[in-house]
Symmetry: C2
Subunit: 448 residues, 2 copies
């Protein structure tokens, strides 16, 4: 083993430096423990702004901080780049793909989530999702290259298809992507093409449910729908995607025949973006196999109220990898949503419970504190639902957009990133430009 924890000091092993894992390590900064942080990338990613990298508004380094740099000043953390391939719960050790073996006294699994294509894995190469920086570069490439291909295309039908963009799933990411794509087509690319008019591009937002942003109260879903339509997004609700290939997709929807029935039709498009399904990291399955823990339909690991696994008090699972519930006094237990504030709170609880166990104290149950929910839609458009001591505070439009903007700047890590992002946004707002319109490799990783 390459890292030799100090004898006598408990060794806390954390897998995944997203919001949950990072917060757990930070919460242990003054603790008499040795921490090893393992991640399969070298950076912590500020995922709420990943769609801005995908839509060329931000450069990747603005939303990604090197993990080692985050823990430079925290000498009890050792950072390792590696991928977990095996969990040996009897020996209390993880095995990494490069052969490294890491023993733990306390293990926190925080490996997050990935896309789910609901069993249609063949859709992945033709409809990339948005979870990693590599995903964002791929989406950026597809969007920009689709406009490029339209400029060269001579067949009018194919040209129209290349100017049609479909976003599947109207959760926060889908709504942000659709709103921003319209802005790129109408404003950013204005005046740059000679054979096509990018402003004629169509952006479709396809949602299986009956409203957008289903985590929001219905009144804000309605506001968001109106703002999307106001920007020019074509929203199709109750629409089920039945097929996707490299040239388009098939949709079953009640609107497609213009009447009340359900019809199936095909949409030719240049670019399909998947924002519909989320599943737990494959690490969830490894844990379940190793410990006998149960998983839910999304592959998330069911945890006890204190976030540890049944019969395995040394293993905690947090963030999007966990199917956790939260119970407030006098209320029924509620499932914890897969959002970054919840992951951070779980990280802090898991850290405190490790200290509780070391000290021989009872562990505490996780209680999710819900500060509210917010989503942006596009220029001057957003919806906000805040919990306050006086009841919910709900607003939308430009004020909500400013609130969203400053909340995201506030939670971004590092002064430099905050300042750069703010500057990029100010410049984008006034000029309608997006400075990161760069495709390093136009051939990309998949087919187009």
């Amino acid at each position: 083993m390459s890292t030799t924890p100090t004898p006598g000091r408990p060794h806390v092993l954390i897998v995944g430096c997203g919001f949950g894992g990072m917060e757990a390590a930070r919460a242990l900064r003054r603790a008499e423990v040795d921490i090893t942080m393992v991640d399969k990338t070298n950076h912590h990613l500020f995922q709420p702004l990943l769609y801005q990298v995908a839509t060329a508004g931000l450069a990747a380094p603005s939303i990604a901080a090197p993990i080692r740099l985050l823990f430079r000043q925290q000498p009890n953390v050792t950072t390792l780049l590696g991928e977990v391939i095996y969990i040996d719960h009897e020996a209390r050790a993880l095995h990494l793909a490069d052969g490294t073996r890491l023993a733990w006294d306390h293990l926190i699994l925080a490996a997050g989530a990935t896309h789910s294509y609901f069993g249609n894995d063949a859709w992945e190469p033709v409809a990339p999702g948005l979870k990693t920086l590599a995903d964002a570069f791929e989406v950026r490439r597809r969007v920009l290259v689709s406009f490029e291909a339209a400029e060269v295309e001579t067949d009018p039908a194919r040209r129209r298809a290349l100017l049609t963009f479909a976003v599947i799933g109207a959760g926060p990411t889908g709504v942000e992507m659709a709103g921003t794509l319209v802005e790129i087509a109408r404003h950013t690319l204005k005046g740059e093409f000679r054979n096509v008019d990018p402003a004629t591009a169509e952006v479709l937002l396809i949602e299986g449910g009956s409203r957008v942003l289903q985590a929001m109260p219905p009144s804000l879903s309605q506001r968001a729908l109106e703002q999307l339509q106001g920007l020019g997004v074509q929203v199709r609700l109750n629409a089920k995607v039945t097929a996707i290939d490299s040239r388009g997709l098939e949709v079953e929807s009640p609107f497609s025949d213009g009447g009340a029935g359900v019809g199936s039709h095909r949409i030719e498009c240049g670019c399909v973006i998947w924002a519909a399904g989320v599943a737990a990291s494959p690490l969830g399955r490894l844990v379940a196999e190793a410990t006998g823990a149960e998983t839910d339909r999304s592959g998330r690991v069911k945890v006890l109220p204190d976030l540890s696994l049944p019969n395995h008090p040394d293993i905690s699972v947090i963030g999007d990898l966990a199917a956790a519930t939260s119970q407030r006094p006098g209320q029924d237990p509620k499932p914890v949503p897969g959002v970054s504030p919840a992951a951070k709170q779980m990280g802090r609880t898991a850290a405190r419970n490790i200290l509780n166990r070391i000290a021989g104290r009872p562990t505490e149950a996780f209680r999710y504190r819900d500060f509210g929910n917010l989503a942006t839609i596009g220029r001057n458009s957003a919806v906000v639902d805040l919990g306050t001591p006086f009841g919910p505070l709900r607003f939308s439009g430009r004020l909500a957009w400013l609130f969203w903007l400053f909340a995201h700047i506030y939670f971004l890590i590092g002064f430099r990133n905050r300042f750069v992002v703010l500057m990029d946004w100010a410049s984008a707002y006034w000029s309608f430009q997006r400075h990161a319109r760069v495709v390093a490799d136009v051939k990309g990783r998949g087919e187009l």
Copy 2:
């Protein structure tokens, strides 16, 4: 054909939007011609700072400008993304990989240069060069992942190898890479590793010739050598690389046995960077085959004094793709060096000669105006050789570094990029940090 030039207006087709092609198109901004700019990427790249993307100092969008955005305000330019696969000189038309056919009245070929491994093409996957953004990301990945692998490695010999970096070729790019790698190892990564000390990393700069920066006068090569050694780079002159694989390389050098003879030895290293050979773009061969033009040993196309091809006055070749000579009155013709000021000057001459031909005037011979030469080595280290009316002005050290810095900021395109780069540099200078230390895909494109 997708772009239909205006009848009666000459159609100028430009291949490649590097310094030469971009400058040619700009020089024709007020001309009564239709211009089509074809490039296989979507961006103009400020190549002199590419090594900073490779060494995580700058984000890619800071040195890459979308080609369409550059010509947004120039309505006589149509920008197309495409790769030339065939030149039909009889029909005066190019064919692109996607099937598009583009006819020309005047053709400017400015496709630049690529790496040359001097016939050892097997070295390419194990020793990436530095010409495109994709190359820079790959080099960044290899450098950062090599430090990461060292932190996990338990075998001391392999760990030492992973902390050994070899740069082959001591031209401007090799010197900049080597100087910056030392800075990363000694300063940027300081305090971030627990199992290894990155400051113990060794950076080797391997050069086949007898001095570094051979385009510079010998006195400045000597200054550069001293500055490199002062920073901690191990410079090996007169050293010939005879083999490279994924774990190291073999070098023949007069120093390797400590005496006067020549010996061959092996160096184990984590990362090899190729900065040694440059060859013309493969387009040079296509042109030579189509027109019977001659090429030199690097595959560059030999042009007439007015930059056109023999018997093909409608075709000009400029920049790194051209083997051009320049003759000043009373002097012998001198070969034009492969530097960006020369490419820009050729672009302007080629554009003027198109206007000369349209007007029935004689064409002018290209005259290279040499303003001098400068190269940076690292923090506060650079060498400058300026031509002035009073003779050459040569200086080195901190003043030269400041001169280099402001010259590069000045020539960077776009106010935003200039400002962002200046800010990044200021922040890097004071903090020793490099903000773009992000690897999107740690597995990358090649083997490690």
